[in-house]
């Protein structure tokens, strides 16, 4: 019996997806600016997409469902980025900073 070729092993994809999620969470916890946290959030999005795509490839009877789901996820991530960046710009206009330590008052 020959070993399964590397691209056909689901556990590798799940390991990479879990790594992306974990790196994103670590970045979210350690970053001190809003844009850095946003980038870490994107890493978490990517981990979720990769996980869904791996399930879609190895388990789903209809392989289009996961692809369409991830496509919608990308669209929503793009919308989220647009909104979040405009909020960051607005915050920077008010505070002259996007460091999370200095954003400490509401209703400025």
């Amino acid at each position: 019996m020959t070993p399964t070729p590397l691209p056909d092993r689901p556990d590798l994809y799940f390991a990479i997806a879990a790594l992306l999620l974990v790196i994103g969470i670590f970045g979210l916890l350690r970053r001190r600016t809003l844009i850095g946290m946003l980038i870490s959030g994107e890493l978490i999005f990517s981990g979720a997409s990769l996980n869904l795509m791996a399930f879609n490839r190895f388990k789903a009877p209809d392989p289009t469902v996961g692809q369409i789901f991830v496509l919608f996820l990308m669209g929503l991530a793009a919308a989220e980025i647009a909104i979040a960046l405009s909020i960051i710009i607005a915050v920077y206009r008010n505070y002259r900073s996007v460091k999370t330590k200095e954003l400490s008052e509401l209703k400025g």
């Binding site: 790196i23 970045g27 001190r32 844009i35 990308m74 206009r93």
Partner: protein
Amino acid sequence: MSTFPASQMIVGGVFLLCAATTVAGALIAALTARIIRSVCGLAICCIGLAGLYYFLQSPFLALMEILIYVGAVCVTIVFAVMLAEPDEPVKEDKRASTILWGGFAFLVCVAIFWGLWQPGAHHDWTPPATRITDGSVAAIGKSLLTTYSLAFELISLALLIAIIGALAIARTGRTK
């Protein structure tokens, strides 16, 4: 399986390259101090991810990943970096508590990774017996315009609202 035995090794090498690119890009994105390098790390991570999508038999998503993430998201973040100078503050506080919390965050992340990786590694991943469609671009297009047409329209509406909302939010306080 194939007539050329080294082809499988080459495919495995390319797969490992894609995986390493993804993880290295993610590490760069999360750990560097300068935000612009972090954005570049995100772009590298997305290129590696596109390669992984290609190995998962969906070249359409690989294309969209590069188009949306590298082409749109990273460029937008670069614009925000240009407008807001968000570099990480220099490590002025090298106190013990900072290092302690960093170690705690690292431990939490290792625990989450272990918990997620274990079930996936020890499961029997037998493929389903039958496949309804072949997952090609033509099949995606058909189900986008039949089964998922409502979600498709809703996502376009969500994008439109997001653009208008982003413009409205970014405009406030401009004439101050």
